[in-house]
C-alpha cells in the first residue's frame, strides 16, 4: 500500500512498562500498512514528567538524549499526543536555555519528522481507512494535548469513521480535561478525583463499550476509576482499535 516509509517507534516510557499492548498494536497496524518499523532499544524517556513538574535541567538532559538517539531516523512515530506536544512545545525552550547551537540545529532538523500516530497515518501516509474492523460502540476523549497542542482536529474522528463495525458515540464535553495532568493527579489528588468523576459521568453517559484516546495516560486515569466503580466500560488506545481486523477481531491487543 504505502511505499518506502521507514519509521522509528518511540514507545514512551510508560507505554513500554504499563501498556505494551499499545506498542504491539502500532507494530501490527503499521506493518499491515507496509511501513518498515524500527525500534531503538536504547530509548528510555524524554522528559515530560520532569519538565511539567518544573525540573527543567533534568528534562533537558533527556531531551538531548532523545535528539541524539533519533537524529538519524527518517520518521519518528509516537503513540502519545502529550509526548509529541512536549517535544514541539517545550524542547525549543529547553534547548534555548541550556543547549548549544549544534543541538538546536539537530533538533530543528528532526522536529518536522516527528509524528503522533494519527498524524503519521493521515498527514504522512495519506490513509484514513486503515482496514480496521472493530464491532463495538466507542466514544472518544480528545486528550488535551492532542486537541490544543497538536491540533489534531477531526483526524481521530476521520480514522474512527472508517473503522468497519464501529459505532461512534459522541462524548459531551470531550474537550474538558479529565483531571489527570501527570503529577497533578497526586499533588492535587482530591481536585483531580473531583474532575475525574465529572468526566466519568460524561463518558459513561455515552453508553459506549470502550472509551478511546490518543494517550494512555488519560485512559489510565479513566480506566482506574472505571475499575474501582465497576463501570461496564473499558478504555482502549486508538492504535489498538485501528490494529483490529476481521481476521483478528480482537487483535492480539486487547
Amino acid at each position: 500500500m504505502v511505499q518506502c516509509v521507514r519509521a522509528s517507534l518511540f514507545i514512551t516510557c510508560y507505554n513500554d512498562l504499563l501498556f505494551p499492548e499499545t506498542g504491539q498494536a502500532v507494530v501490527g497496524l503499521l506493518g499491515r500498512l507496509g511501513v518498515e518499523l524500527a525500534f531503538n532499544s536504547k530509548q528510555t524517556c524524554y522528559g515530560q514528567m520532569r519538565a511539567n513538574t518544573g525540573f527543567r535541567r533534568e528534562a533537558f538532559s533527556q531531551a538531548k538524549r532523545f535528539v541524539r538517539l533519533y537524529g538519524d531516523a527518517e520518521t519518528v512515530v509516537i503513540p502519545s499526543s502529550s509526548c509529541v506536544a512536549m517535544i514541539r512545545d517545550q524542547y525549543p525552550g529547553l534547548f534555548e536555555e541550556f543547549g548549544n547551537e549544534i543541538l538546536r540545529r539537530e533538533f530543528a532538523a528532526l522536529l518536522p519528522r516527528i509524528y503522533e500516530l494519527s498524524e503519521l497515518l493521515i498527514d504522512k501516509l495519506g490513509i484514513e481507512d486503515v482496514g480496521a474492523y472493530f464491532p463495538h460502540r466507542v466514544t472518544f476523549q480528545a486528550s488535551c494535548h492532542g486537541l490544543r497542542s497538536l491540533h489534531l482536529g477531526d483526524r481521530p474522528y476521520r480514522l474512527l469513521a472508517k473503522v468497519r463495525g464501529l459505532e461512534h458515540s459522541p462524548l459531551s464535553n470531550a474537550d474538558r480535561s479529565c483531571g489527570f495532568g501527570g503529577t497533578f493527579s497526586v499533588k492535587n489528588a482530591e481536585v483531580s478525583s473531583a474532575m475525574l468523576s465529572v468526566k466519568l459521568q460524561d463518558v459513561t453517559a455515552t453508553g459506549a463499550e470502550y472509551c478511546t484516546a490518543h494517550d494512555n495516560s488519560c485512559l489510565m486515569h479513566l480506566r482506574g476509576a472505571m475499575h474501582r466503580q465497576y463501570a461496564g466500560m473499558k478504555t482502549i488506545h486508538m492504535a489498538q482499535i485501528l490494529a483490529c481486523t476481521k481476521t483478528s477481531p480482537t487483535g492480539a491487543f486487547l
Binding site: 505494551p20 532499544s41 517545550q90 494535548h145 478525583s193 473531583a194 474532575m195
Partner: protein, 486 residues
C-alpha cells in the same frame, strides 16, 4: 456565612493554606460546587455563541495581544504620558510602590476630604491591597455598590471570581443574606424583588456619600482618560455623583491610544459576560467643572508589577484585561471555585499572577493547580500563554527548593531523582522496570489490579485503581519477536 462549618476563606497568599488543602472545604460543599459549575456554564455558553458570530475573532485576539504587549514593552513612557495628560485635565496622579503606600495615600486623601464614609465600585486592585479592612480599622466606613460586592459585604463573604465575585452564591442564598441584613423577612427570591431591595439600599448611599473609590479597566495614555466597563450602572453612579473620586489602578493597565478601546471593548464584553457590548462604558478625563466630581485622584500601584515586567515569559499575566474567560473555562476552577486559590485573583490567571506578585515567596502551590490542559490559553482574548507561564513558574519553585535538604524526605522529589537517574541509560531503565514489576506484584490482587498503594501512591488509589504490570514490557516483546524471526 454560606459555609459556616469552615472558617472564612483566606484570600491573602501570605497566610492562605496551599491550594490542595484550601480546595478541600469546597470539594466537600456540593452546593457551592453546583453554583460554580452552573454559573460558569451559563457564561461560557453565552460567550461561546457570541464569539462564534465574530468571523474576525482570531484577528481580534491577535490585535488585543499585540496592543497589550506593546503597552507593556513601553510601559514607562505610556505611564508618563498618562500622568501628563491626566494632570493637564485636572486630575492628580499618585504613585504607590507597594500596598502599604497605596493604602496610606488613599487614607490621606480621605482625611483631606474629612470623609468618614466612602462608596466603592468593584476593584480587584483595592482587594489586592486589602483596602477595605484597612479603611475600616482607620475609622472609615466602606460601602460597596457593585451588586455582587454588596452581597459579599453583607454576607461577610469573600469574592471567588474577578468578574462575577459572588458567582459561588445562588439566588436563594442572596435572598437569605438580604433578608437578614436588610431586615426584610418577607423578601422573595424573585430577581425583581432582590434588585429592588439592593437598589433601595444603594440609592441612599449614592445620594448621601460624597466620596468614592473606583478601580478601572483601562488607562489611556494618549488622552489621560480612565475607562470603567460594567453591567449595572452602579459604577457610573459612583463615578459621577460624588464630589471626590479616587481611582486605584495597577500600572500595567495602560493602553497607548484611545482607539485601542475599539479592540478591547469587543473582546472584553464577549469574553467576560457574553455580551456584544457591555451596558455601561464610562470614560472620563480629569475633571470637568459642573459635570461629575470636582476632585479626581489616580493612585498608580506597582506592588511587585515592575519586577514581573522584567522577564518576557513571566510578564504575560500583566497583559490581562480581567475578563475571566480563563477562569470560566478552567476545569480545575469548576471544581474548586475561587477561594481555594488563596488570593483575590483566582483561577488560571491567579495561578500565574499571584505567586509573582508575591515575588515567588508565597503561593508556590498555585502553579501546580493545573493539569496544563491549555483551555485557558485557547480562550484568552489577549493570548496569554498560561501553560507556558505555569511551567516557567514551576521551574522557579523547583529551583528555589533545590537547596533545601528537607526535599530529600519528599517521596515525589526522591522518585523524580531516581527516575532521572534511570532514564540516563537504557540498562538502568530496564533494571528499574524489572524491580518495579517485582514491587508491583506485592500489591497486585487476584483480579490483576492494584487496589491500594502505600505512601504517595495512596493519593492515586484513593479513587482509582491501577492495572497490574504485564510480564513483558514492550521492548522485551520486541526483542523476543526479533529473535524468533531470525
Amino acid at each position: 456565612m454560606i459555609y459556616s462549618a469552615t472558617s472564612r476563606p483566606v484570600l491573602d497568599p501570605r497566610f492562605a493554606p496551599p491550594f490542595p488543602q484550601a480546595a478541600l472545604p469546597v470539594l466537600r460543599n456540593p452546593q457551592l460546587r453546583k453554583n460554580v459549575a452552573h454559573a460558569t456554564d451559563v457564561i461560557q455558553d453565552k460567550s461561546g455563541r457570541l464569539i462564534q458570530e465574530k468571523s474576525d475573532w482570531q484577528q481580534l485576539r491577535s490585535a488585543g495581544s499585540a496592543i497589550r504587549a506593546h503597552a507593556l514593552e513601553n510601559l514607562g513612557e505610556y505611564l508618563e504620558e498618562f500622568e501628563a495628560r491626566c494632570t493637564a485635565s485636572g486630575g492628580t496622579v499618585h504613585w504607590a510602590t507597594d500596598a502599604a503606600e497605596a493604602r496610606q495615600i488613599i487614607l490621606g486623601l480621605l482625611r483631606q476630604e474629612d470623609a468618614s464614609e466612602v462608596i466603592k465600585i468593584e476593584t480587584m486592585t483595592s482587594a489586592e491591597i486589602q483596602l477595605n479592612t484597612f479603611l475600616e480599622s482607620a475609622g472609615v466606613s466602606v460601602f460597596e455598590t457593585d451588586l455582587a460586592e454588596v452581597i459579599l459585604q453583607l454576607g461577610e463573604e469573600e469574592p471567588s471570581h474577578i468578574v462575577v465575585p459572588a458567582l459561588h452564591i445562588n439566588r436563594g442564598q442572596v435572598r437569605e443574606i438580604f433578608a437578614r441584613r436588610m431586615e426584610l423577612s418577607d423578601l422573595s427570591d424573585n430577581h425583581h424583588a432582590l434588585t429592588a431591595a439592593a437598589r433601595h439600599c444603594l440609592r441612599q448611599k449614592f445620594l448621601s456619600i460624597p466620596t468614592a473609590i473606583s478601580g478601572e479597566n483601562f488607562l489611556i495614555a494618549e488622552t489621560g482618560g480612565v475607562a470603567v466597563i460594567e453591567s449595572e450602572g452602579n459604577g457610573r453612579m459612583c463615578l459621577t455623583l460624588p464630589r471626590t473620586l479616587i481611582t486605584i489602578a495597577g500600572i500595567e493597565k495602560v493602553l497607548p491610544r484611545f482607539r485601542d478601546l475599539e479592540v478591547m471593548l469587543q473582546v472584553l464584553a464577549r469574553s467576560a459576560t457574553g455580551e456584544r457590548m457591555n451596558p455601561y462604558t464610562s470614560v472620563w478625563t480629569g475633571v470637568t467643572p459642573g459635570d461629575g466630581p470636582e476632585r479626581f485622584h489616580v493612585v498608580l500601584l506597582d506592588n511587585g508589577r515592575s519586577s514581573i515586567l522584567a522577564k518576557p515569559t513571566e510578564r504575560q499575566p500583566l497583559k490581562c484585561i480581567r475578563c475571566a474567560a480563563c477562569i470560566n473555562t478552567c476545569p480545575v476552577y469548576r471544581q474548586t471555585g475561587g477561594h481555594a486559590y488563596g488570593s483575590v485573583y483566582p483561577g488560571p490567571i491567579g495561578a500565574i499572577f499571584t505567586p509573582q506578585l508575591m515575588q515567588m515567596q508565597h503561593g508556590q502551590s498555585l502553579p501546580y493547580a493545573s493539569t496544563l490542559c491549555g483551555a485557558s490559553y485557547e480562550v484568552c482574548p489577549v493570548k496569554i500563554n498560561i501553560p507556558e507561564v505555569l511551567l516557567e513558574l514551576r521551574s522557579q519553585v523547583v529551583d528555589q527548593e533545590r537547596g533545601d535538604p528537607g526535599r530529600l524526605f519528599d517521596p515525589m522529589y526522591l522518585g523524580l531523582l531516581i527516575a532521572n537517574l534511570l532514564f540516563t541509560k537504557a540498562w538502568l531503565f530496564h533494571a528499574g522496570q524489572r524491580l518495579g514489576r517485582i514491587g508491583a506484584r506485592l500489591f497486585t490482587r487476584k483480579d490483576g489490579w492494584i487496589h491500594s498503594l502505600p505512601g504517595i501512591g495512596a493519593k492515586w488509589t484513593q479513587t482509582r485503581e491501577l492495572r497490574g504490570l504485564s510480564n513483558q514490557t514492550f521492548h522485551e516483546w520486541w526483542a523476543a519477536r526479533a529473535k524468533e524471526s531470525k
